[in-house]
């Protein structure tokens, strides 16, 4: 099976590497191509090239117009029966629209929420996949190659994959805010000189709040708990705000998410504190997000 990958950034190249390891034949395209990847991938000079050589095309580009632009080009050149996968953080409503557009040309469009960040390349990613079930089923070997063991799920109709990923990201916002508040209080509360790295590391073992994010945080805190080089401003990619909008539409309260969004917005406007540095640190560690 020939697979095309459009967008070879952190996530795109990580996915490509896992597919290469599983011996898929890969054709890649990026607006800013890297010379070498360290695994077999034929670099194409245009999306047209990718579309003509492959039957499965994975989009790993930033959400928004870039997806539409790439899709329009693919649809111009790809033959009927091609399966297009949007592995980015697209809005689920866009994915519903795009799937309908593709269907008119007898092309399949799967929306695939992709979690795992920088570490997915090694551990495997977590995939939440929506769209035509027959297309999903045809690609089981592809999901098996990209995902961590047991790390992919068919979520249902078009849009549901990105919807579930949006919810995943909203949960992440709340979890990070919770850890941030805790470490902030440990750092600046009643007891001076608490060893945050040792405490966080101990929490990984047997405590109710053990998690992968805690592991990342405490590993860093063990080396440096001052966080003097970590920005106090927290970035965001939009999915948290989308979740709030969707929750409001469905009349579902999300006060922890709201709190996390408010803290992020304030950190951008007024600067932050040790807690916002914890959130920034986590985003840097799991996703390489500088802002």
């Amino acid at each position: 099976m020939n697979i095309g990958i459009v967008g070879l950034g952190r996530m795109g190249s990580g996915i490509a590497q896992r597919l290469a390891r599983a011996h898929f034949t890969l054709y890649g395209y990026d607006v800013h191509p890297t010379a070498t990847f360290g695994f077999p991938l034929t670099l194409c000079s245009s999306i047209k090239d990718v579309a003509e050589k492959t039957s499965v095309i994975i989009l790993m580009v930033p959400a928004g117009e870039i997806v539409d632009k790439a899709l329009t080009e693919i649809l111009t050149y790809a033959p009927q029966g091609t399966i297009i996968i949007d592995g980015g953080n697209s809005n689920y409503a866009d994915s519903i629209r795009r799937a309908a557009l593709c269907k008119q040309r007898d092309i399949f469009f799967l929306d695939c929420g992709t979690s795992g960040g920088l570490h997915g390349k090694e551990h495997g990613y977590c995939l939440m996949i929506g769209g035509e079930k027959s297309a999903y089923e045809k690609l089981i070997p592809v999901w098996e190659a990209i995902a961590a063991p047991h790390g992919y799920v068919y979520t249902g109709p078009s849009g549901s994959g990105h919807y579930v990923k949006m919810v995943h990201n909203g949960i992440e916002y709340g979890i990070l805010q919770a850890y941030a508040e805790g470490f902030h209080l440990l750092k600046e509360g009643e007891f001076a000189n608490l060893d945050l790295g040792a405490i966080g590391h101990t929490w990984e073992h047997g405590s109710v709040i053990r998690s992968w994010l805690l592991e990342l945080l405490s590993t860093h805190l063990k080396k440096d708990a001052t966080l003097s080089n970590i920005p106090a401003q927290i970035g965001e990619n939009g999915t948290g705000r989308w979740m709030r909008q969707e929750a409001q539409k469905s009349n579902i309260p999300t006060p922890a998410l709201d709190a996390a969004l408010e803290v992020r917005a304030e950190s951008q406007k007024k600067g932050g504190n040790y807690g916002t540095k914890i959130v920034s640190l986590a985003r840097l560690l799991f996703g390489g997000h500088v802002q």
Copy 2:
């Protein structure tokens, strides 16, 4: 080493079992004693009895006056040099006061935050220990027996162990609220019939939000996602409110914790929703908390 355990409920008996496995000689006391435990423990008819037979006494009783009452009795009978461990969820300020009281009689008092709930008996607990360092060090074999591998830490002066446990619990409140909001939206949002168990289970593998709490939740959701038998009212043990008070004292914002506390209080007054059932479910699964 003879060890006494006062309070043989879920946590106390779990700790006793781990100590028995490590071949400590155990003397136990409970106001409502169980006839058999399935491991060697001599049941005493009074705290006096326990205090006279042991040099280390672990209190596993509910926080508050019950601790003071037990402590007064122990101090009446225990010889100098005895080490008393409060393994419950006491307020750290009480622990500072109690350690000072014990010190007047040349008795050591260690405050030991204990996480792990129902599952600690098997996996080992996570211990956060404050107080006189020499007393802590004398008991390394005891911590090793009770804790999960790498699951104990010396936090510093008296009170710091319970302070760190208070923060741990406050983080737990925020994390649970974050998962609750996410599963609530998956259940009642845009897409009907999403498979919450399958999605939650997939998130355990390779996603950024994987955690032990998520494992507990999704294992239950796989069997039953209706949660029809789970109460929508969420209980609490006070540590979350303490953390908010401490944070206010130290001028540290905790909006995610505040949100979680507000949701819990409202669920008690007005009843809850699918999200509050998720929090109740988690508390039931990790701690056996019925309310």
